[in-house]
Symmetry: C2
Subunit: 286 residues, 2 copies
């Protein structure tokens, strides 16, 4: 059955108290979300495409879910099983206001910059991450920062800022001559030529006892994503492996932020987060 | 109206979809919880007394709430507004198992040990914490570790371990000759005589570049609470002010723990957490 046939049949059958779980990362599947919610069927998904697409779509899905009494839950859009979106919503619903979000949202990039120590070449570290299965099939899909941009966009929208993906300034870590239609081998061959440029960044950070981190910051409605150096007093300094970290500074958590940290990717923790959202809908429906 | 009169009247009136919010720390009020839940009224509270009392009472309240379709929520029992109990419950409900909890659960004691640096006397630091309003009226109620014991007991029970308060080994930081019925002045006069003992602990930690932290650990059903030294690689090392931190190691978060950190006490963040629990019940009742 085609996706359209499936959704048509679902609408026909009238299935309230049902949940549609989208475990794809397909843009096409998200085009059916409105029809699914309109059929009073709730949606749970780790798929970021709907929430990081046009603002209009983001808003329409919320309005539809609300009107139909259906739920649209996506805790795993950011940080997999880490309690980020629900925690922020709890704060907002109880009257708090998000002032600033600082985050490391890519487990892949954190693995790369945690592994990138003296004596290693940047291109080798990226190759290692790819071999270990930490990167997308094309590592440029991680290095270009778009995955991080989508995640911080979702957090920013949840925090109440009406932003589009195009409003976000992203530092693309893919050197210009490594972009476009080239094979993986060709990509790595070209990336090697930039090893010394990355090395000088690493050394400059290391000389001041700092570490490189690929960070996303939302500050008063403005989002920027860049590679920066953090010193030992910064909460991102001790981040290891493929961990994510999210610092929430709000009106109530103003002096010191609320911090959520831990493995932010992986099949098990993502599946657990999806399952927790499903159970949450079960609670709501009692 | 007496508390008993109030509860009787509430039962008489039959008020489903109502919520009883207990913002006291009174043991007496918790003696009415069963009657309140039996009247189909939900309870939201930061009061730890019911959940850290006899295991039998803890279990009876859950059974009563479940039977009556009422909710009993107490996210603020641990870490004020930090999402600790709900997060752990999400993990457990989705089939995870808690292996280990390591935590700093007393904002007061963390403030004391964060402020206790070279050149300061321990008794002066405690005095300063009292003057700033960070301690209980009698600072010994913080130093004896019982507040931490109650919190880790609640987390342990939530994680599925049938423990009593008496099962927990607590390092009491109140020196023996400072206990009993004495005035605050007398307490501080006596505490001064132990400054050198605390100083040698501090110096021993400091000599190995470590810091003192008052830590609670649940490991495979065994709970211990003690003052220990942590080095710069430990996640508790950088803890500042009156922050709390909770590390959850579970079957799914086994390689690296999930970490929740932030201000764990204070009127604003506690009130927000209570309010979030109230809203949660609103969601359930839709």
């Amino acid at each position: 059955m085609s996706m359209k046939g499936f959704v048509d049949r679902m609408t026909e059958l009238n299935l309230p108290n049902s949940i549609f779980v989208d475990c794809t990362s397909s843009e096409e599947v998200t085009s059916y979300y409105e029809a699914i919610l309109s059929a009073n069927v709730s949606i749970v998904t780790p798929n970021k495409k709907a929430n990081s697409g046009p603002l209009e779509k983001y808003q329409l899905l919320r309005a539809t879910a609300f009107k139909r009494g259906a739920k649209f839950l996506y805790e795993t859009n950011v940080g997999a099983g880490l309690p980020v979106i629900n925690t922020m919503n709890d704060l907002l619903l109880s009257g708090d206001k998000v002032i600033r979000i600082e985050a490391v949202l890519s487990g892949t990039l954190n693995f790369i910059f945690s592994s990138y120590v003296e004596g290693k070449k940047f291109s080798d570290v990226v190759k290692e991450a790819k071999l270990k299965g930490y990167t997308e099939p094309d590592p440029r899909d991680d290095l270009n920062g778009m995955d991080v941009a989508r995640k911080i966009l979702i957090l920013s929208r949840e925090a109440g800022w009406d932003l589009e993906l195009s409003d976000i300034t992203v530092e693309d870590l893919v050197p210009e001559d490594c972009r476009g239609e080239i094979t993986p081998d060709e990509f790595f061959a070209r990336l090697e030529k930039h090893d010394s440029a990355f090395e000088s960044l690493r050394k400059k950070a290391s000389d001041t006892k700092a570490k490189l981190r690929y960070m996303a910051v939302l500050d008063n409605g403005v989002v920027s994503i860049q590679l920066g150096a953090v010193d030992e007093h910064h909460p991102f300094y001790s981040l290891s492996g493929s961990d994510n970290i999210i610092l929430l500074t709000t009106e109530r958590y103003s002096e010191r932020p609320m911090v959520i940290r831990g493995p932010g990717a992986g099949a098990h923790v993502t599946a657990a987060g999806v399952f927790a959202d499903i159970i949450r809908i079960g609670h709501y429906s009692k």
